[in-house]
Symmetry: C2
Subunit: 150 residues, 2 copies
């Protein structure tokens, strides 16, 4: 998946999880160990004109499922979210973007750990920002990488 375009990655996510497609989360950039995401205010505003908390959750949760697939052999591992803490620090009235980074070396080590031990845990601490660069959410996602039985 290292030569995936952002559009291909977006299509992959929306096919795999149609509910994320309905929330409109898009992959803006993807490369080994890095993914940039956006969630639109359009369709996700509540009656106060601010973004629904669940759309921000979607933005915060997705990187843990996506970022391993840009380094490790796709189809070999399945990332599972086991817990997520999210802080809503300001109301968003614009699209919100979020960048996730993991050292590709660390991701390969996770894959090797799964091969040896059956599973491997990892954590992502992320920040979502509105169009003015204001922090609207911070999050800590806890994930487990598992072998794909298929």
């Amino acid at each position: 998946m290292t030569d995936f375009t952002p559009q291909m990655a977006t299509d992959f996510v929306h096919r795999a999880v149609p509910a994320i497609g309905r929330l409109g989360v898009v992959v803006e950039a993807i490369s080994p160990g890095a993914v940039d995401l956006r969630v639109p205010i359009e369709g996700n505003a509540n009656h106060m004109g601010t973004m629904y908390a669940g759309a921000l959750f979607a933005l915060a949760e997705l990187p843990g499922g996506l970022i391993p697939l840009a380094v490790l052999e796709p189809g070999r591992y399945t990332p599972i979210v086991t817990a997520l803490e999210i802080q809503f620090l300001a109301a968003a009235r614009t699209d919100v973007t979020l960048s996730a980074r993991m050292d590709p070396q660390d991701l390969r080590a996770l894959g090797a750990h799964v091969d040896a031990e059956g599973r491997a845990d990892f954590t992502l601490e992320l920040v979502g920002r509105d169009a003015e660069g204001r922090t609207v959410i911070t999050s800590t996602g806890h994930y487990q990488l598992r072998p794909n039985r298929g």
Copy 2:
């Protein structure tokens, strides 16, 4: 809102937050200090046939926004989610339900606190279960009740 039917409450939520409507979360029962919710597996399954984490987040987050409105004067207060911790304990392959309870007396005290101090914080610890009664999520939601400026 104490004489709201579940259908009226569902329609209210879907109008106020269309994204919750697209996730299909429905109010199954509502009375002062109590709300029962359901999120359907239909439309929310991922490629593994299990429920998308974001649909479970929607289920866990909504009670904090809804339960005060069934006791306090609607339109007078706005509940805001400030943080949420959610644990994904088992994959759900069925609809998931969740019941939230708060003592109406405590809710009225929160309203009085907002009137006196400008805001009031409250917390909801919840459990979501699948059709077999298995716990699929636990969550702690942190909310702030604010006066409605309007």
